[in-house]
Symmetry: D3
Subunit: 286 residues, 6 copies
């Protein structure tokens, strides 16, 4: 008789043990600095459940999740209302995975969570480069007086990465000051990802961390997010970008953030996140 | 470093192994004969997720799930579109649990699923009595020509249980013929559960299976179901009934059916189902 | 082979021709003076569709729709933005039905529609009495300068019915002036229907029109309406009231208004309206 | 006075009798093998209701539904939970229409329903060719042990149509094995419809059945479906494809499947289905 | 010509200036420690907007908001992700209002916000008594390690109020330890408000702060909250309790918390909150 | 201590007084002739609230709302059910603003509201030209007998503007007669805005009124409207058109109509409307 083992619910095809796995998937249910519409805390849970509607095989990359050893580490246990402690827990977990010689794909949560995981990657790879796909600049020094904010996450990363290491694409919202600041300190393509392919060539042989804020997508295809920003890229554009990432030889980790299931009544945004997670796992795990 | 074990997602507090457990919780994601609004297949999944908003302690029964050994067996794997095979799988699973000397709480799915689990209980306990709490008679001989239908599940049970064994409460919808038939063959209280307490006294020392179709509740508190039927009982009425069940000394198994999460946009119906599952686990596990 | 006749859509069990029928059901898709949340125009359509989840037999009244000859006249064709023309069309249709010696049950639409149908009934029955079940007084002289408003419908009716003919129940919202005015001119029970049964005795042998604004129900069971007003009666209270209506020997027509399907995401409010329509048809058709 | 005839509900402009009509529209409310999110059973009903928001005139094709004689046959009456009987009923109805010398447009329901209607068309036209527009390959031999599954519908059709008769477009999800199998047995364009126009030239003078699974569209424009698959075509792409279908001289029948209204909270997906039905009726009826 | 003044948005009838007002209404858009479903940050905004569907006159209390001078102070400006700063801002604002000799009604936000406003009231009234209406005990020492949590707000209040000052009603969820602790330190009525009236007599002449967590209501009438807990009181029960509050002669301030508009798709929960705010303003302002 | 001034609610960055402002923003909460799905009355309110998720700076136009003096006049007070009075009120308000030497951006409401504001602009600028971006022709002489209808608004404008003054773009729905009529009397581009840029050159130096019916957008990005019409333009297309409007030297006023928040469950359509309002304010205010 079956069904005598515990009910294990993972992202589809990610059923390896930590020890077996070369790649770790984990969720960070944190939306504590979200300024508009909270709910990204439920993202990874929804993604796991709805990954059931997905195949493990990607006809885009012609690879199958079943051929990669992925461990689904669940969602981190986080305290509520204490941003600093949350940041520490993410940092420790990310560092642990990297120390054990594995890569990871983190799923947010709000974008601030990337600050800790990128810092952990930087600690191991001092010449880390950051690819940032997003609707928003995220380059504020602080937001309503708080330095730890989703709106300042990339600015905070610049603090340790420095000039010339950050590559931003698809950006269509921010303060005028942020766009000005970017001219000095980062590579920033406004509105689209037209130069993405060529930049991948440049970054082919350096350690790279990729952070994808799904609100880079048009709200037509991705309404389920905290701050929808009309005029974004199509999902095919994002699939193309992921195609170009295959040129990169040293992706050390990545994240996919800002799905907010309460604002996804039809489930389409969650389907987008599921497929992106699959494609990114296949990219990290190639 | 934590989070190195697989992400195990169970109903809150139900984290024992099959071997340790005296009580098995499992889901049956089947809504194949639903005539109006499908979606009960997603019930157990939603209940597991939202059980997080619940405490393990019941101030009603003054008992705690943490003091009972419950195994969450996940959801049964079922083929789509083949009702007979589905019925067989449920029967086999239920029988297996009972054979192993454990009790179970099954979560539907539509009401037809109870036919198999009740049959399995009857096979072990030939003097089985059935407590049926529901808005609908479920006493049709067939529905649009099909004998295996949610609308005929209790009539089918009568086929093996016989007269005098079935106790129906809260019934407020059915064909005139069904109400007439009930007068001859079952005990049926229309609209409410006023005689529930006294019937529990009568049934105190016989083997009992309890099937709760949550649509017995008023759609005010439980809109998330396939066929909402206004004029139902309140949740306090159901809590009272569960209180009276404590008189029963031989509950062998039970089920809770007909939550349909797609029709529960606020989550209130799922919260109702979660709490009912907790109270029924505490009832079965006392 | 079937399905060669046109696709006819009626409320369940209401498939008689106009000529055969003693009772006419029709919808009025009008919400033109709705001050808060529009959408009642879609009510009758939703009620027809969801009546499929209902039985034709009522265990409350022990009667079956299949034993009554009801014609479903569909929804009236109405111009948009011209309240006076709409009122004329309703009046003409209602009068026509009464002239043909039939009764009717009208389904709104907003409450203003009742003004025309009550006027038509009054034209035939000069000693008409009005039973008004509602959360709101509807006794304003005008609303934002408009005399034809859902908020003044009963006041308008008083214009021709006069003192002593209007019986209001369940009222829990209005201007202080309206409550004061009612003391002089109508019978008004605040908050509940406790005196409903006794008033039915008084009205047993006079011509009666019954208008039910479903927002008399608590928003717990009936959220899908333009102006939800917490603290209302339960659906069982309404079923009881319908039970007491059986004492009336001259019900000439009735209406059920203010279901707004866009505010009924779970479908529970529509189920309430369906069941109320069935019970009222059985009441009119006894 | 109007409204004395029965309330007839058809797709806009489709009010001819069966006898008058050269083209039959009918719905198949079946979702019994749906593996992820059920609800397509409600599609045709929602399409009829919301067709009210549509014009009968198409500025794309410069034709008007009012100039074509279309009969709306309503929805087939189907038993619940018995897939084989359902398949027989669809087959009989489709065959009857074709035998009577008429064309049909069937609206699903899940994609499995097409198996019966295509078989009926094949019975009359032994050299039938199949145009298949879809996100999914639908080429599995069986799904969870069941041969009659929405995931195997085209594979089942190949069983009688054979090699060289099936033309698939827009496909972006499936097992690796399915894509491999397609290379031998069907024409399959991945991801888009770029070769659609040229294939229409090839098929201009053979009997053709067209099956459109609306999930070929991007979930941005069509979220209301059982298995949303991001990265699909735009609605303009589909309109273009319909434009190219005008080259075909022997379209014998067609279907439009997989709208699931419960996952269409905004109504946009239903609007898409309505417009597609209008354009396909105009295409079949030219 | 009108509309030349700025667009002022207040709760209905609360349009006095701060100086004129004897009563201040303000919102606290904070949900930073919410453990399950966030969204209460949007409560006051939704309440202001939907108060348009309400009358200013209460037939329960026979008073009118137009006869009371209420200032609507808008929502406090709060930083995101810094719980301590938020608590300080609430404290300062509350203290300011009290220092100016006015009363206030605060609208949450999550329940933690009450800690600051109660502390401000206590600073002015050292013999302050607290009336706590809620589904949850809120008596934890800490929650996941955090002392500042919605789950520990009343326990924190006990820290300065001490034994014998806290009166809890309607409580139906908590840890066993919390219920045990309450026996020693607070007055706690489980499940209902049956002893509410008599306790109001006892508290008639002491300074009282009233905190209403709306989740005390049954999710049937109030689904739109972070943690719905089935089996709660009806809205009429709450209206009765407010009626009994009229016995109190020294209410110094009050709050209404935990409406979460994203989980209120029908708007019924917001209507409940609106009406409760009106009744509480009329209670504070008598 | 802050928050002592009244709670003022404006579109983000539009906080100037009427006297200071050169540009007036106001809402018209009217949907009285809407034939399909009402709800546009709530548009401006939703836009104000959600503008909080927007920046005041546009990276497209490289301008900032903070550098323009805009007064937000709130929503006009309108009677319900009296279309003519509503039209008068809009006309008076619009004329007043123009008479005071200011421009305006009006936000609907349904499209009929534009008739009054365009007439007011025409009264001041007798050589007014009209740019009309829409999915629908809006050229009917009357709709169900009513001349004042959203479906006839542009035809009504032609009544005073005359031939050669109306430029229509993106049109994809209407009667055949309307398209025929347009050939004689207006410039009409079907389906897209490809000729928009060149027409802007032609209109560079004449007085221009711009009316944007947001349903010109594809329902993929803009489902929240009364009559979604699939196959529309993308939001980038609209941003491009706004870019081309910068060539115009005499824009005297503009409007943005037909957002219907009840059909926007994810908030994406409201985000689209917010951004369009910002870009149009920046266009009018340059």
């Amino acid at each position: 008789m079956g069904n005598k083992k515990m009910n294990i619910s993972t992202f589809i095809g990610c059923d390896k043990s930590y020890e077996e796995a070369s790649l770790v998937l984990f969720g960070v249910p944190f939306d504590g600095t979200t300024s508009f519409r909270p709910g990204t805390r439920f993202a990874m849970q929804a993604i796991r459940t709805d990954s059931y509607g997905l195949e493990t095989y990607s006809p885009y990359l012609d690879r199958d999740l079943e051929n990669i050893a992925v461990f689904d580490g669940g969602d981190l246990d986080l305290p509520f209302g204490n941003t600093e402690k949350v940041m520490d827990i993410i940092f420790e977990y990310s560092r642990g995975v990297l120390t054990d010689g594995k890569k990871f794909l983190m799923v947010g949560g709000e974008h601030l969570v990337s600050l800790s995981s990128i810092k952990a990657a930087y600690e191991k790879y001092s010449d880390l480069h950051l690819i940032h796909i997003d609707a928003h600049t995220d380059l504020r020094e602080h937001y309503l007086g708080e330095k730890l904010s989703h709106a300042s996450v990339i600015r905070n990363c610049h603090g340790f990465l420095g000039d010339g290491r950050i590559f931003q694409f698809g950006i269509r919202s921010g303060l005028k000051e942020e766009f000005e600041w970017a001219k000095e300190h980062t590579y920033l393509e406004k509105f689209s990802l037209e130069t993405f392919a060529e930049k991948m060539d440049e970054l082919a042989n350096v350690p790279v961390y990729i952070t994808i804020d799904l609100d880079v997508l048009d709200p037509g295809i991705f309404p389920g997010t905290g701050t929808p920003e009309p005029g974004g890229i199509s999902y095919r554009d994002l699939l193309d970008a992921i195609g170009h990432m295959q040129k990169l030889n040293q992706i050390v980790a990545a994240d996919v953030v800002e799905l907010s299931p309460p604002y996804d009544p039809s489930g389409a945004s969650t389907a987008v996140a599921c497929k992106t997670v699959r494609e990114m796992l296949l990219t990290l795990g190639k």
